[in-house]
């Protein structure tokens, strides 16, 4: 670790995500104080940490829902938010930012399904409108994805007719329909009733097993331990500790990590 102070070394050798000294402030408060890490292709990175530590903000920076104030983020080798021309970095325009977002999926805590569209329409909206896939093809693909998340019978339901767990599985299918290189999960189960958490985690486990690169902010320590290759613990805008889940969760080296884990376990 001493030779890699910025935690730049991911597990594999081909990094899909590289964050270098990412900084973000809201007004006068610095919410991310220099986040550096790498995520290898096919890796599942868990992110844990107390409320307000900047976990969501970090994911939102990767997906450009927030603009960073310092440092850089690369996804698939491509710089996020800028284009390099000679010795200059040109800020991207809205259309190019939208293009970059297409290969990055995001699953939100409160699902954010489109309430006025049916389950199938929610899933085909992106492929048809953004990727210009043919509607019939997109529909078939959507139905295959619904099969995969165990909701083949809910094709024509509206989101409001589904339980939270079902909505979150549709949200995952909606993300998958865009064939992303990377999926960001922001506490995907914390708005769910306890007995519905399992069904969402099962889908995410399958996804991890299929080789999808994922960054998962979660309070489900069991999931982090079983599924993630590495876990990062964030506190007050910094990555305090990152490494093998068995090490970070079971015998954390940092006092702050220990406190947090005992708090959540209680």
């Amino acid at each position: 670790m001493a030779s890699d102070p910025l935690h730049l070394h991911a597990v594999g050798d081909e990094p899909l995500v590289v964050a270098a000294d990412v900084r973000k402030r809201f007004g006068s408060v610095e919410v991310l104080k220099g986040i550096s890490l790498r995520v290898a292709k096919g890796e599942v990175l868990g992110v844990i940490g107390p409320s307000g530590s900047g976990k969501s903000t970090f994911l939102r920076c990767i997906n450009q829902l927030e603009r960073i104030d310092g440092g850089a983020i690369f996804v698939g080798g491509e710089l996020i938010g800028y284009r390099r021309v000679g010795d200059k970095l040109h800020e991207l325009d809205d259309g190019e930012i939208a293009r970059q977002r297409r290969s990055i999926g995001m699953v939100f805590q409160r699902f954010n399904l489109f309430p006025h569209l049916t389950v199938t329409q929610n899933i085909t909206e992106g492929p048809v409108q953004v990727l210009r896939e043919r509607p019939a093809e997109a529909r078939d693909h959507a139905h295959a994805l619904l099969e995969r998340v165990g909701l083949a019978d809910k094709r024509d339901a509206y989101p409001a007719e589904l339980s939270g767990g079902q909505q979150q599985r549709v949200a995952i299918a909606r993300t998958l329909a865009m064939r992303p290189k990377l999926i960001l999960f922001d506490e995907p189960t914390s708005a769910l009733d306890p007995e519905l958490v399992g069904e969402v985690l099962t889908v995410m486990r399958d996804l991890a097993a299929s080789g999808m690169t994922m960054i998962v902010v979660t309070h489900e320590l069991g999931f982090a331990r079983d599924v993630c290759q590495r876990v990062a613990f964030m506190d007050r805008g910094q990555v305090v500790e990152i490494g093998d889940p068995r090490q970070v969760l079971a015998k954390p080296t940092q006092k702050r990590t220990q406190d947090f884990i005992s708090m959540v376990r209680k």
Partner: protein, 281 residues
């Protein structure tokens, strides 16, 4: 304390009585009847009302009123959406243009706006592209065109505020979800945000539409022959003011009732996918 206290299954249930309701209904109906009677025996010649209700001049005015209300409202909606989106844009030019538009056209009375458009020739006697073509302004600014511009542009300012409130009412998560599947801004507004904003937009726009039906009567000052103008032309000649106003009011009531029914259907359409209120889930 013995358990017999809790034995109540043999008792008779007496539902709450609402004596006030029956009394209230009686009072309201009584007042209504008294009102109807007073109108019937008051100094109003109902035979004139019946006679003029369906004369061609009145029906023609009614048609003009409805046509103008629809067209001005469409123009207002189009402008309202454009200026609401401009107002929420990050581009300061667009934003302040929108703010100025709303400020000016909400503040200047409709009557004056109509007169200014109609009398545009006082300021621009000719319009056109210099050197290419040019026409006399009064040829273009017919009462119809002036009314449409005056009413529609003013309506746009009011609608812009309504649409803006609608756009702001859509959950931030919806914007983010649309962005995260890589939707460009305009597509996001059209496909995701607007359909949801409509639930909040339709009721006040319904109000405004009803207002517009009545506002068209202002256009009578620039010789647009709406229903009130037609009624006035008749009473200027025969002095039956109240009777002809009742004729006009009857048609307004019919039109507004029809509009309210249409509004209800549109509201129901945009409510699709929304769970009825209830439950704490």
């Amino acid at each position: 304390m013995t358990d017999t206290v809790y034995e109540i299954s043999h008792l008779t249930l007496v539902p709450r009585r609402h004596p006030g309701r029956a009394v209230g209904a009686a009072v309201v109906l009584g007042l209504l009847a008294a009102l109807v009677y007073s109108f019937a025996v008051g100094q109003i010649e109902w035979s004139y009302v019946a006679e003029f209700l369906t004369v061609p001049v009145i029906l023609h005015g009614l048609g003009n009123t409805i046509l103008m209300a629809i067209l001005a409202m469409l123009l207002g909606l189009a402008l309202g959406v454009v200026f609401a989106v401009m107002r929420l844009s990050e581009n300061p030019v667009l934003k302040y243009t929108a703010i100025a538009y709303v400020w000016f056209f909400r503040a200047v009375p409709a009557l004056l706006q109509l007169l200014l458009w109609f009398n545009l020739a006082l300021i621009f006697p000719y319009i056109g592209l210099p050197g290419v073509f040019s026409v006399r302004t009064v040829e273009v600014m017919t009462p119809f065109v002036a009314a449409l511009l005056g009413l529609g542009i003013q309506q746009g300012a009011f609608t812009a505020e309504v649409v803006r409130a609608g756009l702001l009412s859509v959950d931030k998560g919806q914007y983010e979800a649309a962005q995260s599947i890589g939707m460009p801004r305009l597509q996001m507004l059209r496909r995701i945000i607007m359909p949801q904003a409509m639930r909040v937009i339709v009721p006040p726009v319904g109000n405004e539409f009803i207002g517009m039906v009545k506002l068209t009567s202002l256009a009578s000052v620039i010789q647009f022959t709406d229903i009130l103008h037609s009624a006035q032309n008749i009473y200027y000649a025969n002095s039956r003011v109240i009777e002809l106003l009742i004729v006009a009011a009857s048609w307004y009531l019919v039109t507004v009732t029809a509009l309210s029914l249409i509004q209800m259907r549109i509201e129901r359409y945009y409510a699709k996918g929304v769970r009825p209120v209830g439950g704490n889930a």
